[in-house]
């Protein structure tokens, strides 16, 4: 496929990215509760590390 450089204001990339991003968010909302709780565990752990970095 011929590669055409996109202009700076191209919608081709933006539209694709936002469409895929919306799909990703919908997938995350449909995850099992167990996996969602694991995500919360990771977020909580990360927040604790960030708090420690801020204190140091």
């Amino acid at each position: 496929m011929k590669k055409i450089p996109l202009p700076a204001d191209s919608k081709a990339y933006g539209e694709l990215v936002f469409r895929e991003k919306a799909k990703w968010h919908r997938r995350r909302a449909r995850m099992s509760l167990l996996r969602k709780l694991e995500v919360l565990d990771r977020l909580r752990e990360r927040a604790r590390k960030l708090a420690k970095i801020r204190r140091d």
């Binding site: 968010h25 995350r28 909302a29 995850m31 099992s32 509760l33 167990l34 969602k36 709780l37 694991e38 995500v39 919360l40 565990d41 977020l43 909580r44 927040a47």
Partner: protein
């Protein structure tokens, strides 16, 4: 130290009859219906009928928890805030209208999306707007209307916040 551990401890308290029943509300409750939302704690409503039962129950819970962190009891390494169902009728209704959710080998009662919306409309902090928007995508509108009819004030404050 995990949210799942905390639910194991809560279920253990229920099994040993330290608490009669409980329902998950707040960000963890909302996570059942939407993308995981960052939170440090678990909010639950605990079933009690009187202030005396509240004092007795909470004293018994405090004896069995790992630590206390302000208003939170630390269960499974996670701070858990326990609200008595006597605080307001909506809490009691949230418990009665809860959904039993199964994850792993646990069964836990989670607030319905419609009840969570009402609780968020009551608190109405900035982050609550976003959560209400997400929760509104998958609800029974008739059920939400019925709850608003029962729990909104005469000025329809909660409905006005939608």
């Amino acid at each position: 130290m995990s949210f799942t551990e905390a639910f194991k401890v809560l279920n253990g308290l229920k099994r040993r009859k330290v608490i009669r029943d409980y329902v998950v509300i707040g960000a963890v409750g909302a996570t059942n219906y939407m993308e995981p939302v960052f939170t440090e704690d678990i909010d639950v409503v605990v079933l009690v009928d009187t202030d005396e039962e509240y004092r007795r129950t909470f004293a018994a819970i405090a004896q069995q928890t790992e630590a206390q962190d302000g208003m939170h009891q630390v269960l499974g390494g996670v701070p858990v805030q326990l609200f008595p169902s006597t605080i307001m009728p909506l809490y009691r209704d949230t418990l009665e209208g809860a959904l039993q959710v199964r994850f792993g080998n646990l069964r836990v009662k989670f607030a319905s999306a419609e009840h969570l919306i009402l609780l968020y409309l009551l608190a109405f902090r900035e982050r609550d707007h976003l959560r209400v928007r997400s929760l509104l995508l998958n609800i029974d509108e008739g059920r939400l209307q019925e709850l608003l009819d029962r729990f909104d004030d005469e000025e329809n404050t909660l409905a006005g916040r939608l």
